[in-house]
């Protein structure tokens, strides 16, 4: 029996109708495409009236297939599927074709655009006739959640979920949770003490009954899918037995080996070979840095083991793989600092008194290497003039095009701290001052009043090549002052480079494990930049904080909470819908060659040893089609993407090239004469 197809062409206001003759497309489709019984165009198909149009036609005209030519299926496929379902038509018998993003928005020739739209409508109409009704499945959601990264975003997400009563596994790569925020002295614009607002959250997480924390650990492998992920965590060997250690710290105190701390102290201070990164670390359990420990490098010492009152030191401890199961994953892996030696003209690494922003953060911190004193690299001289250079590695086509978002405010904060703690003059060299959030502009105003100097211009170089007598012995900042319209040379004693925030070096690697992608710059890609900022294209995997793009503390906290809310919603619903668009293997045809087993990016194909055939695990299959195309025996079919459906789609798109006139005889006089519906009847 012939199918009865309805075609609906959307104007999308003028978005589509401005470039495509939508009335002509609808008229043509109604006359020329076989089995089309209704063909209409309408101002906004996605409106409730537009949806009602489809529903009424299904009921009254007995439509068995529906084609909507409108925007991207990402936006409204659900809408139209639901309309069909409401009228009693299986939702997988509705096909969308995108004539907005794929045609009207990217075309300049109205006639050609209209022709292309016709071809796409014909393709969808031919395809939809071969589509089969499918039923959605459901998977139960494991109420446990994995949070990757123990910075402020991850901590917030962890607490929100744990406080709501759900179990959370928190994985942190460093020996302590806390992230970058633990390194800061003050936070802008309120200037409250960073540690004072962070450490209560850290200890709350550390003691929470619903939180299982893995510090000094990394995610090794992720399998499964939304609702039922299986995760392998590598617990790196601490060489300190977690259960026995009381955190008394005597091992750290007695350890004879001092090491430059390039992580927490940003190279400004020292730690021991056995250490906790900072006094308020959570957990208190130290780790042994085997690359520097005298016992591990030279086979001598063992002082820590001798002094430990609880025999918690274990030199033979090995990395351990821990397996957990969770329903959702929140990625909050943060950022790393731009390497300032990549801009050699600013002299970092060559000129002693050029500092990075993180070095300066540590210097300002009362618990830091200088006890909060702002001094030159010699450790004692107070600078008289300090230059703060913005956009080092940000807003620079040679390095990172993006704005790092936090540096302007951090520079203002530094300016305030310098003016408060020293008698030095402070210069800010900025391109644009970016202070857009709540109370930020007021803070900028405050620094203007406090007497910080602002020079608008990109610094050309920082040099010690003096030209004038008063430049001798100074660092000279060469800059074009774009407000004065002149070159300036400003001698200073100290330079602080506001280095860019960059994605973690292994962000891409972790992204691959989780099945989420990165932008060109390397930040994780959210599902929708405006309307779905914490979800990703992989169901059950959410992102929060700076791993999704440069962010300050309030924004990171907001995203952490938002991601937790999304996860809590999934847990409360208890189950998730599984798309029926998956592959299936015909056991009769399968030779058991196992080619598909390793190709599957979701590990969704298992091998039945007994029968000698492969089998698709429905809950894990994403319907990507890799196995379908790879199977040498044609034993695998992708539901909703069968060969006949794709062939029909191709025939449709080539309607004007097919010699025998199929599928659309394209008779110019419309002699084929299907039941014609008034064009634009609505």
């Amino acid at each position: 029996m012939a199918e009865r197809v309805g075609i609906y062409v959307c104007h999308c206001g003028s978005n589509i109708a401005g470039m495509i003759d939508v009335e002509e497309v609808a008229r043509w489709a109604g006359q020329s495409i076989k089995d089309v019984v209704v063909s209409r165009d309408y101002k906004f198909m996605c409106s409730s009236l537009g949806q009602k149009l489809i529903e009424d036609d299904i009921r009254e005209q007995g439509l068995t297939r529906v084609v909507v030519a409108a925007c991207s299926p990402h936006l409204h496929e659900k809408t139209f599927r639901r309309a069909c379902q409401n009228a009693g038509l299986n939702q997988y018998l509705c096909q969308m074709t995108n004539i907005r993003e794929h045609v009207s928005w990217v075309s300049t020739d109205r006639q050609k655009a209209t022709e292309k739209a016709k071809a796409l409508v014909a393709a969808a109409a031919e395809r939809v006739k071969h589509q089969r009704p499918l039923e959605q499945g459901f998977v139960k959601v494991n109420p446990a959640t994995l949070v990757i990264g123990g910075g402020i975003a991850g901590l917030q997400a962890t607490l929100e979920l744990a406080d709501a009563g759900y179990p959370v596994y928190l994985v942190e790569r460093e020996p302590s949770i806390g992230g970058h925020m633990a390194q800061f002295d003050k936070t802008f614009p309120t200037l409250d003490c960073s540690a004072c607002i962070l450490t209560p959250k850290m200890s709350e997480v550390g003691q929470h009954e619903n939180v299982k924390m893995f510090t000094y650990a990394e995610v090794e492998e992720v399998s499964g899918s939304v609702g039922c992920f299986k995760v392998k965590i590598r617990q790196k060997a601490r060489h300190v037995i977690f259960e026995k250690c009381t955190g008394c710290g005597i091992c750290v105190e007695k350890c004879p080996r001092k090491v430059v701390d390039n992580v927490f102290e940003a190279g400004m201070g020292y730690r021991k070979a056995i250490y906790t990164p900072f006094p308020q670390a959570v957990p208190r359990t130290p780790v042994i840095d085997t690359a520097n420990c005298t016992w591990f490098t030279r086979g001598k010492c063992q002082v820590c083991s001798k002094v430990c009152p609880t025999q918690a030191i274990d030199y033979d401890q090995k990395d351990e793989i821990i397996q957990i199961e969770v329903g959702n994953i929140i990625v909050a892996t943060g950022w790393k600092l731009f390497d300032c030696t990549r801009i050699p003209q600013y002299g970092y690494g060559r000129l002693a008194n050029v500092f990075t922003n993180m070095e300066f953060e540590r210097m300002c911190n009362a618990a830091g290497p200088t006890g909060g004193k702002i001094v030159l690299r010699d450790g004692k001289t107070e600078p008289r003039r300090i230059a703060i250079i913005h956009c080092v590695g940000s807003r620079d086509v040679r390095h990172n095009q993006y704005c790092s978002a936090v540096c302007c405010m951090a520079a203002l904060k530094f300016g305030h701290l310098v003016l408060e703690k020293t008698k030095a003059e402070v210069y800010s060299f900025y391109i644009d001052m970016r202070t857009p959030m709540k109370d930020y502009e007021e803070f900028y105003q405050r620094l203007l009043e406090e007497g910080m100097h602002f020079v608008r211009g990109k610094v050309a170089e920082v040099t010690d090549a003096a030209r004038l007598p008063d430049e001798q012995g100074s660092l000279i900042v060469q800059v074009e002052d774009t407000l004065l319209g002149t070159q300036r040379r400003i001698p200073v004693d100290m330079v602080v480079l506001m280095a860019a925030l960059e994605p973690q070096a292994d962000a891409k690697e972790l992204g691959l494990k989780l099945g989420i992608s990165c932008s060109m710059a390397g930040w994780y890609t959210e599902r929708h930049p405006k309307l779905d900022p914490v979800a990703t294209m992989t169901d059950g995997v959410f992102v929060a904080g700076a791993c999704q793009g440069p962010k300050d503390i309030p924004a990171s906290v907001a995203q952490g909470a938002a991601a937790a809310a999304r996860v809590a919603g999934m847990i409360t619903a208890g189950k998730v819908t599984i798309e029926p668009i998956i592959a299936s293997i015909d056991e009769q045809k399968c030779s058991g060659c196992r080619i598909c087993n390793n190709l599957c990016p979701y590990n969704a194909i298992e091998y039945d040893e007994e029968k000698g055939v492969s089998r698709v695990v429905a809950a894990m299959c994403k319907g990507c089609g890799t196995c379908v195309s790879a199977c040498p025996a044609n034993a695998i079919t992708g539901a909703h993407f069968s060969n006949e459906q794709i062939a029909a789609e191709l025939e449709g798109i080539l309607w004007d090239a097919i010699a025998d006139g199929r599928p659309a005889s394209a008779a110019p006089d419309g002699s084929k004469a299907p039941q014609s519906t008034p064009v634009g009847a609505a």
């Binding site: 801009i343 050699p344 003209q345 002299g347 170089e461 040099t463 010690d464 090549a465 003096a466 030209r467």
Partner: protein
């Protein structure tokens, strides 16, 4: 290894020492240079700003004349190097422009397909093709004790820096260290010497030259090595005028990097063109390089 060689006009007169030393050093390192037959001037920096098409055609003629057996051309002069490279790029990137240039070449019975010849600077050839081991192998008189300031100037690292950082190139630094010299890490090594500014505005030009000399002197350099005839001329030829203008007492010899290589390789300074510079270099080299003074006295 064989390369086409494009000496350019400067190397025939004011930078004859560069030409002599390039040929000597190349010979020793097994770099075979085949001079392009009937080459013509590259137009320096001026011609491009006058008439781009004619300038390009004039330069492209040299590329078209390269022996088809050879895939690479070496130009020691920075301006020649840049012009040859820029011409090849312009022709590769703009099809219509390429066509016009080739129409002009056709009048002389020539044709050039962009990308056919790779344009190289002598420094790149020595550092990348010959390499550290082969260079070190040839050093018989290590320059121990001599503080050398490498001066890169503009045109070799800008706008086509290759694998160098244009703000802070390192290749010549590495090369000098292979020769045993003490390399002076001074902050202005890629700053401009002023080019032809001496002909337009002496105060501006002298100030640019002074900064370079001052910085090298502040960092206790014994001499400056350069890789561009224009830079050498400005720093060496105008040093006396700069001293007069600023009441300074600079006395820094300026030589080409290939000349100082020749010394390290034990070649005859006369054959390397020493003595053509205005601020005499040889006495400083002899006085500073350990053991050389004794040798010269013998």
């Amino acid at each position: 290894m064989k390369y086409a060689y494009y000496p350019g006009c400067s190397l025939e007169c004011n930078a004859a020492a560069y030409d002599m030393s390039v040929r000597e050093v190349a010979d020793l390192l097994g770099i075979r240079l085949q001079e392009i037959d009937d080459w013509n001037c590259c137009g320096a920096t001026e011609y491009f700003s006058q008439d781009e098409l004619t300038a390009t055609a004039v330069i492209a003629r040299n590329l078209a004349l390269v022996d088809p057996q050879l895939k690479q051309v070496v130009a020691p002069c920075a301006a020649c190097y840049l012009n040859l490279k820029k011409t090849d790029r312009l022709m590769a990137e703009h099809a219509d422009f390429n066509q016009k240039v080739n129409e002009a070449l056709a009048a002389g019975g020539l044709h050039y397909r962009p990308g056919t010849v790779q344009v190289r600077h002598m420094l790149d050839v020595i550092c990348d093709d010959i390499g550290e081991a082969a260079v070190r192998d040839k050093v018989v008189k290590p320059l121990n004790g001599l503080r050398v300031a490498p001066y890169y100037g503009c045109q070799v690292v800008r706008p086509y820096p290759g694998d160098e950082n244009p703000e802070y190139p390192m290749k010549m630094d590495h090369l000098l260290s292979w020769l045993g010299a003490e390399v002076v890490d001074y902050p202005v090594k890629a700053h401009c010497c002023g080019g032809h500014m001496t002909q337009i505005s002496e105060p501006q030009a002298f100030e640019l030259i002074r900064r370079l000399l001052q910085s090298a002197q502040d960092y206790d350099a014994d001499l400056i090595v350069c890789m561009c005839p224009m830079c050498q001329l400005n720093l060496d030829g105008y040093q006396g005028r700069v001293n007069g203008y600023f009441n300074t007492e600079f006395k820094l010899p300026i030589v080409y990097f290939t000349q100082i290589m020749g010394i390290a390789f034990g070649l005859d300074p006369k054959k390397l063109g020493f003595g053509k510079e205005l601020v005499a270099a040889l006495p400083v080299v002899r006085a500073k390089v350990n053991g050389l003074a004794a040798q010269a006295a013998q």
